[in-house]
């Protein structure tokens, strides 16, 4: 989308008008069926019984506590994965070493592991029948079926997001600028803060918001480790399921609309970030 208007006008003349509009129509119909329709359905169901019912659903005590838990989870998980993402990207993008491909594949792994498995592994370790469950119980430490388990499972599923985003970006930018700074006498950390970070700033933001959206929206993995205690270990997506299973469809979709709204905000920030990343890459 960085192409100047003139060239894209030229480009669009490569197909006959009829074909062009036909292709646009097919693409738009496809997007309508798969993206816009579901989004519209969420909001239409949420406001099915009017705005007051919608607001009441959101003000309910269990809903509020689920929102709190979800925000708390994201607040732990995003900074940790951010720190990891930046360090991993530094090591992988700026240096070459044997086994790099394997390392990248392992970092990607949580992305394609079934959420059911992601939750299960923590139960296998921290559950009472697991490796250190009995020891934890003796010391009165609760991991699974409590908030730490939910945070751990969420960290797992959002693990690759920031790193995935940063590695290609930092690779593309090379090492020259940093090397120049070091030659001029800057310390390693100074170089990172003053040179590297400003260059990848928008890439980081892009990774963080995706990580955040996934952290707040994860269902499968969290469902396995949550224990579903009302008002205590239910996150927003789990609360949606509960409301839905209580035949409280309007409330379910009202809470779901919060998540959909979050998704929309994410997309807006993401579009801005993407645009800035493009600019940055062009600048270099």
């Amino acid at each position: 989308m960085s192409a100047s208007p003139r060239t894209s006008k030229d480009r669009s003349q490569t197909e006959p008008t009829v074909v062009r509009w036909l292709l646009i129509a097919i693409a738009v119909t496809f997007l309508m069926l798969f993206l816009i329709l579901p989004l519209a359905a969420v909001f239409s169901q949420a406001f099915d019984k009017g705005f007051t019912v919608y607001l009441d659903a959101l003000r309910e005590a269990d809903t509020l506590s689920s929102i709190k838990l979800t925000v708390l989870t994201a607040a732990f998980c995003v900074p940790l994965n951010l720190f990891f993402g930046v360090t991993a990207a530094w090591a992988i993008a700026k240096f070459s070493f044997p086994g790099k491909n394997l390392l990248i594949t392992l970092i990607d792994l949580p992305f394609s592991v079934s959420p059911v498995i992601s939750g299960l592994i923590y139960v296998l370790i921290f559950g009472l029948q697991g490796w250190i469950g009995p020891w934890l119980q003796d010391h009165d430490i609760r991991i699974v079926f409590a908030v730490p388990g939910i945070i751990l499972a969420t960290i797992f599923v959002t693990f690759p997001f920031v790193a995935r985003e940063l590695i290609p970006l930092m690779e593309a930018q090379g090492r020259e600028e940093e090397e120049a700074a070091l030659v001029l006498g800057a310390s390693g950390l100074q170089t990172f803060w003053r040179v590297t970070l400003p260059n990848v700033k928008w890439g980081i933001i892009y990774g963080v918001i995706l990580c955040n959206a996934r952290a707040m929206g994860e269902f499968g993995a969290v469902s396995v480790v949550s224990g579903h205690i009302r008002g205590m270990t239910n996150t927003v997506p789990l609360h949606v399921e509960i409301l839905y299973n209580e035949y409280n469809y309007t409330a379910a979709f009202a809470v779901a609309s919060l998540l959909a709204f979050l998704a929309l905000i994410t997309l807006v920030i993401k579009t801005i970030a993407e645009w800035k990343v493009q600019q940055q890459l062009q600048k270099n």
């Binding site: 960085s2 030229d10 480009r11 669009s12 490569t14 062009r20 646009i24 693409a27 738009v28 496809f30 798969f34 993206l35 816009i36 579901p38 359905a41 969420v42 990891f84 360090t87 991993a88 090591a91 240096f95 044997p98 790099k100 390392l103 990248i104 594949t105 392992l106 970092i107 990607d108 792994l109 992305f111 394609s112 592991v113 079934s114 959420p115 498995i117 592994i121 923590y122 296998l124 797992f156 090492r175 940093e178 990172f192 995706l210 996934r214 929206g217 994860e218 269902f219 499968g220 997506p237 789990l238 949606v240 399921e241 779901a256 998540l259 929309l264 994410t266 997309l267 807006v268 993401k270």
Partner: protein, 276 residues
């Protein structure tokens, strides 16, 4: 694989950053996943094989991998089309459409599942028009494919889009000048350039779809042998207090994920080389 090149790299911090990366990776990903393998180790090889090749489990692989294959193929075709249209043509609402492509990334899977079931069930917005035509979407393998298509949609679009942007119009023009028809140009010039990215996107969409649970469970019929996905079977085993059976199937899925990712990374390497 390249050897260490640290001698001509003056940047600091390789040791600590790589060290932390490996430490955190082990703590969060590798050790927990190894628990899966160790739990399975309680089974003898024969038990393991008979668990993961039981007819119902085999049927679930067929459903899961089959539906994921179909979904990824649909995404490959339409994803290329969408990417092409978004880059090459101007039309009202293009920017919005472009931003919305990422919706499946950001929308929680449970919400997606409930919503898709609402739209495509026999009394839903779209389902009620399909029902008289004899097309049943919700609660059939078709429903599984639909949910998988939804969650895999951004991958092909997002991997193909930048490549379409990179294609130089001069190349196409040159082909035209040399007497190639538009169709020949697409076939011989454009498509080969897009192929690596299409394959990467296809593989990513496939890998994501295979593991998906949250959105599918609401729209699959969960009929044994017909519309039961493998993650559901893991849950089913757990509900019967059969941890070893569950972890055995989970191990198979884990191995599949790992292999697919390895292939994707190799594909990406290949496509980078192609670009250079």
């Amino acid at each position: 694989m390249k050897l260490f090149k640290r001698q001509n790299n003056v940047l600091p911090g390789f040791g600590p950053t790589l060290g932390f990366t490996i430490f955190y990776l082990s703590l969060i990903v590798l050790i927990p996943l190894s628990a899966l393998v160790f739990r399975t180790a309680g089974l003898t090889w024969g038990e393991f094989v008979s668990t993961v090749t039981a007819p119902r489990v085999m049927a679930s692989y067929k459903v899961t991998f089959g539906a994921a294959l179909v979904a990824a193929s649909i995404n490959a075709v339409f994803g290329v089309l969408v990417a092409w249209v978004l880059v090459r043509y101007k039309f009202p609402g293009r920017k919005i459409a472009d931003a919305l492509v990422d919706l499946p990334f950001a929308l929680p899977t449970a919400v997606a599942g409930i919503t898709l079931a609402t739209i495509y069930s026999p009394n839903g917005w779209v389902g009620r028009f399909l029902e008289p035509l004899g097309i049943k979407v919700a609660f059939t393998p078709l429903g599984i494919t639909l949910a998988m298509t939804f969650i895999g949609l951004p991958f092909v679009v997002r991997t193909v889009q930048p490549v379409v942007e990179e294609i130089e119009v001069e190349l196409e023009e040159a082909a035209l000048c040399l007497g190639a028809s538009r169709w020949q140009t697409i076939q011989r010039v454009i498509f080969p350039m897009l192929l690596p990215s299409i394959l990467t996107g296809f593989a990513l969409a496939f890998a994501r779809a295979v593991g998906e649970y949250g959105s599918i469970i609401f729209i699959a019929g969960n009929m044994p042998m017909v519309s039961e996905i493998t993650p559901l079977l893991i849950i089913t085993k757990l509900e019967q207090f059969d941890y070893q059976g569950a972890t055995a199937i989970a191990c198979v899925m884990l191995l599949a994920s790992f292999l697919m990712l390895l292939v994707i990374n190799l594909l990406q390497k290949w496509s980078r080389r192609y670009a250079e």
